[in-house]
Structures are given as structure tokens and as C-alpha cells.
């Protein structure tokens, strides 16, 4: 990128993040270094620069520089262009915002949260991987990072319905549930979308997809472009309001869940007028209500927790509840659940071409974990994890099976 780096804009954006807790976080690190071992990037590369605490340096520096009387006494140097250039890679390519480092930190610093905020400063300065920025801009201009426009969505859903001989509800006037998609699913794993529709049809749910708001992924959020994050959130909010949905279901996508469930109301500045559930939470609800009856699943499987669903989302147990009594040979990895290892592609890293090599190497952690369980297949509930894992599987010529939890469930409907 040749555009000049706008250091001032970055500093200003850093300082706009002045909530009490964020500032406390940046001041509290005791430089104990324990977080390094918790981060899959450090664990894989052994490069001390990949230490989570080190990723806090630029924002900590900007905030200290703003603190009276340190600035006044000349005790706190300002952030420089060199700083921003040095840390750009660290905050984008080598942080999936998985939140694992927080679980070890004795000060409990929410590094993933800070990285998310810090990315906004880099974006303001005109920095950040170009492909990630483009994905954000594509979403704004064409409805989806992969160019899935409203027309294409309608076409494809119709085609999927015909092909699979099922009903897929699109643009109903009124519905209780608004279903959304991740364009990764539509482009690479359309069976996931068919699976959601099948399950909801079977359960007799009044749902619809909407061409007004369908893209659940939020690359504005991942790229640090808060204006685009807001546009993407609003599209779904408005679509849900239009059909009068009480529930918005986020498909198999991790960050989409966090961006809507835990940040949506903050992004648009008002509480959401509906509940937000990840598809695993929603299916768990159907199961509790007796609306999801399954034939038993043979074969050994293990479950990969998408970080944003489990450790940072709190829906850890729903996937397990779904597997209970269904998967006859379910094997947990160690560590799993809230302490799982990230697939390596969260936080938009999947979309950064230049980050691919390291993230493939990171996936070795997962391969080894699965090998220890001896399970034949690893299922997940995030299309972004799945794509990351499929690509890394190819890189390693790994023989393990990969699948989607929702698809596996749909295949076993009674």
C-alpha cells in the first residue's frame, strides 16, 4: 500500500477508545509473558513478537502519551509511523482474536477485545491487509465479501431448493425467525444452508431468508472499519424488523455471532429488537422442545469449538448437548471447549493471503489434537473454521475427516 500512513488519525482513533476498562487493561500488563504459550501463533512460530502482550504495545503507548501529566512532563513518547508499520502484521496477520490469552493472564486482560479496537486505529491510518479491506468494501458495496448480491442470493436459494427438492423460504412478508447466511457457506458449503432449511422445515418453524439482510459475516468489524460494521449490522436488523422476526439465527460462523449477539446493539447504538442465537443454540432449543429428533450417528467424531461461539460466546455447552445421545462415539480433544486451540483463521486471518503460511502451520496443533483422540472426523460449527481447516488439511495432506455439525444433524433427521 503506497498511500501515506496517517499517524495522527491512528493516534486519534486509539484515544477515542477511552472506556474505563480498556484504559485499565492497557496499563495493567505486568509483562510476565505467560500469555505467549497460550497463543497458537507464538506456540507455532516461537517468535517472541507473537506474544499477545506485545500486541498491546502501540495502543498502550498512544494512551500513555495522552495521560496528563506524563505528556506534559515529556515522559511518554508519541506513537510513530514506524510503530504502526511494525505492529500492523502483529495485530492483523497474527491475531485471530480468539481470546485464549485472556484465560491465562493473571491480570485477565482482554487482549482480543483490544486488538479489535486497535485495528480501527490502523484502518484509520490507512493500514491493514488489502484483501481484508477489500472484503469489507465488497460487503458494503455488493452485500457480501464474496460478491453474493441480493439477486445472486435469491437465485442460489431457488436453485438449492430445486436441486435438493426442499422448500426454502425467501422474503416471506412475516416470519418468526430470520435465517442468515455466511457467504462462505453459499460459495463453498451450500449444503449447510440446505441443512438449516431442512431442519427448520421439519420442525415446522415459520422462518425466512431475506434479500434485504442476509450476510451474517461482518468484515467491517474484522477490518477495523466501524462504518462498514454498522452498515452490515443494520441490514440484518432492518430485515428482521420488516418481517417482524423475534429471533435472528446466525449460521455456522463464529465472528458473525459475536458481531451480532454481543456487539450488534453497541454497533448500532440501541438494543436489538430481537434475540440473536447461533444455529447451535437454536438447534439445542429445538431439541429441548422435542422438535429435533435424530437417528444415532455412527463413527467417531470430535468437536472443534469455534472461539467466538465457545470461549468468547458462551455457547460452549449447546454443541455438546446436541451431540449427547446422538453421536455414539464422541471424543473430546484436550484441551477443548473454552480452552480450545483456534483453527488459525479467525479474526479475518483466513482472508489475508499473506498470512496463509503461518496459519497453515498453526493448524498442526489441531491435527495433533485430533490424532490423540483417534476420532475419524472433526466437526465444527463455523464455516470460516471449516474453510481454514480444509485449506490447511490440503497443505498438510492430512487424512482426517472434516464436517459441519449442522450438516451432520440434517443428515440424521428422523
Amino acid at each position: 500500500m503506497n498511500a501515506p500512513v496517517n499517524v495522527k488519525a491512528a493516534a486519534k482513533t486509539f484515544l477515542a477508545q477511552t472506556e474505563e476498562y480498556l484504559s485499565a487493561y492497557t496499563e495493567a500488563c505486568v509483562h510476565c509473558g505467560q500469555c505467549a504459550e497460550a497463543c497458537h501463533f507464538y506456540q507455532t512460530s516461537g517468535d517472541p513478537r507473537h506474544t499477545p502482550a506485545y500486541k498491546l504495545f502501540p495502543i498502550a503507548k498512544a494512551m500513555k502519551n495522552n495521560k496528563w501529566p506524563l505528556n506534559w512532563l515529556g515522559l511518554a513518547p508519541a506513537i510513530t509511523e514506524a510503530d504502526l508499520k511494525e505492529w500492523e502484521e502483529l495485530l492483523f496477520d497474527t491475531c485471530t482474536m480468539c481470546g485464549r490469552c485472556t484465560t491465562i493472564c493473571p491480570m485477565a486482560i482482554d487482549i482480543a477485545g483490544i486488538v479489535g479496537r486497535a485495528r480501527q486505529a490502523f484502518a484509520a491510518a490507512g493500514l491493514g491487509p488489502e484483501d481484508l479491506q477489500q472484503a469489507a468494501e465488497m460487503s458494503r458495496d455488493h452485500g457480501s465479501p464474496l460478491g453474493l448480491s441480493p439477486d445472486k442470493l435469491a437465485d442460489r436459494l431457488e436453485w438449492l431448493a430445486d436441486e435438493n427438492e426442499i422448500e426454502i423460504a425467501v422474503d416471506k412478508a412475516k416470519a418468526d425467525v430470520l435465517l442468515t447466511v455466511s457467504s462462505i457457506e453459499m460459495m463453498k458449503y451450500p449444503d449447510s444452508i440446505v441443512a438449516m432449511a431442512k431442519i427448520l422445515n421439519k420442525a415446522g418453524i415459520n422462518y425466512t431468508f431475506s434479500t434485504k439482510g442476509y450476510e451474517a459475516t461482518n468484515f467491517g468489524y474484522l477490518a477495523g472499519k466501524s462504518d462498514i460494521a454498522k452498515i452490515m449490522t443494520l441490514r440484518i436488523v432492518e430485515a428482521a424488523e420488516k418481517v417482524g422476526a423475534k429471533t435472528v439465527v446466525i449460521p455456522e460462523c463464529g465472528h458473525a455471532y459475536g458481531a451480532m449477539r454481543w456487539s450488534g446493539g453497541n454497533t448500532i447504538g440501541r438494543p436489538l429488537p430481537f434475540e440473536v442465537l447461533h444455529i447451535t443454540e437454536y438447534l439445542a432449543r429445538l431439541k429441548r422442545e422435542g422438535k429435533l429428533k435424530l437417528k444415532p450417528l455412527d463413527g467417531s467424531i470430535t468437536y472443534h469449538d469455534p472461539c467466538q461461539i465457545s470461549r468468547r460466546g458462551g455457547a460452549t455447552q449447546d454443541a455438546r448437548y446436541l451431540l449427547e445421545g446422538f453421536a455414539k462415539d464422541f471424543r473430546e480433544m484436550t484441551p477443548a471447549a473454552d480452552y480450545n486451540w483456534c483453527c488459525g483463521g479467525g479474526g479475518g486471518v483466513q482472508a489475508m493471503g499473506r498470512a496463509a503460511d503461518l496459519r497453515h502451520k498453526v493448524f498442526k496443533l489441531k491435527i495433533d489434537q485430533v490424532a490423540k483422540t483417534g476420532a475419524a472426523t472433526m466437526v465444527s460449527s463455523c464455516a470460516n473454521c471449516r474453510l481454514t481447516m480444509d485449506e490447511s488439511k490440503e497443505y498438510w495432506k492430512w487424512q482426517g475427516g472434516l464436517d459441519s455439525l449442522v450438516e451432520v444433524i440434517a443428515e440424521h433427521l428422523e
Partner: protein, 219 residues
């Protein structure tokens, strides 16, 4: 005025004043910042914010199982240091007398053997921490002047304290004066460096406890 008079008098008073004003400045400059209101509804069974904060604080007292091995040094050395220091600071008869003189409260002291052992453990853990900081590649990279200054102002009172109690090398009055002066130095540095973590830990752990607690995450 002897060195001891100076240490006990003006030095200590000024140090306490800097400590108090500095700590208040650090804390107020944080808690007076705007609070971000959270528009997302908490998970139904997540309990009160107070409970979430407490749980967050408690959970980070000890590393979770997957990290026990990689964190063993920080865990053992960290606890050894903090416990050792607490025993010496609050268990030594002379310290208790000092606290009584200043704050008017007191409690029984611990036997000299226990204090000596604790002092040795404290000193050893500080040396261990420094060696690790200087040799471990991660720690070398993330350490700043703050870390080394903080180490120095922490180790000085420990060393001078051990010397004073054992009447090593210098006159007792001189040793005591040096001990008090080194303590004063630590107080002065406290609000400016990472010793502040002693206060900030309550803010950050409880905040994280709330952020994750309301999501229903148990970390």
C-alpha cells in the same frame, strides 16, 4: 538531623504523600473515564455483575489446567514472592510496631525463623524473576525500563531489610535509615510504574469477569 531522622521524618512523609496522590491520580484517571454501556442483553442465567466480577477475580488466581505446565515458573515464583513478601511485611515485629505507630493498629508478630525463611524466599524469587526476564526471549522482548526499575525498587527494601535485621556490615542506625529510604523510594515509584498492578488487578479481573460472565463464559 541524622540520616535516620531524615529517613523517618521528611523522606517518609514526602514518599507517602507522593504515593497517595499518585495512586489516587492513577485510579481516578481511570474510573472517571466514561463507561461504555452495553446494549447486548446478558445471558439469562448469568447472575449479577457483582457476582461475575468476583468470579472473574477468583478464576484468575490460578492458571487453568492446560497452562499449568507452561506457567509453572510464573505460578511458583509469583506466589513465593507475594506470600514471602506479605509474611515479612506484616509478620515482622518491627514492621508491626511501625504500622502501630502510624495507623494505631497491631497484631502479634511471627517467630524470627519464619521471617528469615520468608525473606530468603522473597529475595530468591526476585533473583529468579530477574534472571528469567534477562534470559527468556519473550520476556526480553516485552520488558521495558519500567520492569527493571520496579524490580530494583522492590529488591532494595528486601536487601536492606535483611541487612538491618542481621546487623550486616554497617551501623544499625545507618542500615535502618537505608532500609526506610529504600522503602520510601518504592512508595514514590509505586504510582508511576507497574507496582500499580496491586490496585489495577481488581479493576481488570473484575471487568473481564463481567464481560465474559454476562456472556455465560466460564473463564
Amino acid at each position: 538531623m541524622t540520616l535516620l531522622d531524615f529517613a523517618r521524618g521528611p523522606a517518609l512523609s514526602i514518599a507517602f504523600a507522593v504515593f497517595l496522590i499518585g495512586v489516587l491520580w492513577r485510579l481516578f484517571s481511570l474510573v472517571l473515564l466514561p463507561k461504555a454501556s452495553d446494549n447486548s442483553p446478558a445471558r439469562a442465567d448469568s447472575g449479577s455483575a457483582f457476582g461475575q466480577g468476583l468470579r472473574g477475580f477468583w478464576r484468575h488466581m490460578w492458571p487453568a489446567d492446560p497452562y499449568l505446565k507452561s506457567s509453572v515458573f510464573a505460578l511458583v515464583n509469583g506466589y513465593a514472592f507475594h506470600l514471602g513478601l506479605a509474611i515479612v511485611v506484616f509478620g515482622l515485629a518491627q514492621h508491626i510496631q511501625f504500622i502501630k505507630d502510624v495507623f494505631g493498629i497491631s497484631w502479634p508478630g511471627l517467630p524470627t525463623g519464619v521471617i528469615t525463611l520468608a525473606a530468603i524466599v522473597t529475595l530468591a524469587s526476585l533473583v529468579g524473576a530477574l534472571v528469567r526476564r534477562l534470559t527468556n526471549p519473550v520476556l526480553k522482548l516485552i520488558s521495558t525500563g519500567n520492569d527493571y526499575i520496579t524490580w530494583l525498587v522492590t529488591v532494595l527494601p528486601v536487601i536492606t531489610g535483611i541487612m538491618t535485621i542481621n546487623h550486616l556490615w554497617l551501623r544499625y542506625e545507618t542500615l535502618l535509615a537505608l532500609h526506610i529510604l529504600s522503602f520510601a523510594l518504592m512508595l514514590v515509584w509505586f504510582p508511576f510504574g507497574k507496582l500499580m498492578h496491586a490496585f489495577l488487578v481488581f479493576l481488570t479481573r473484575s471487568r473481564t469477569g463481567v464481560v465474559y460472565g454476562r456472556r455465560g463464559v466460564k473463564i
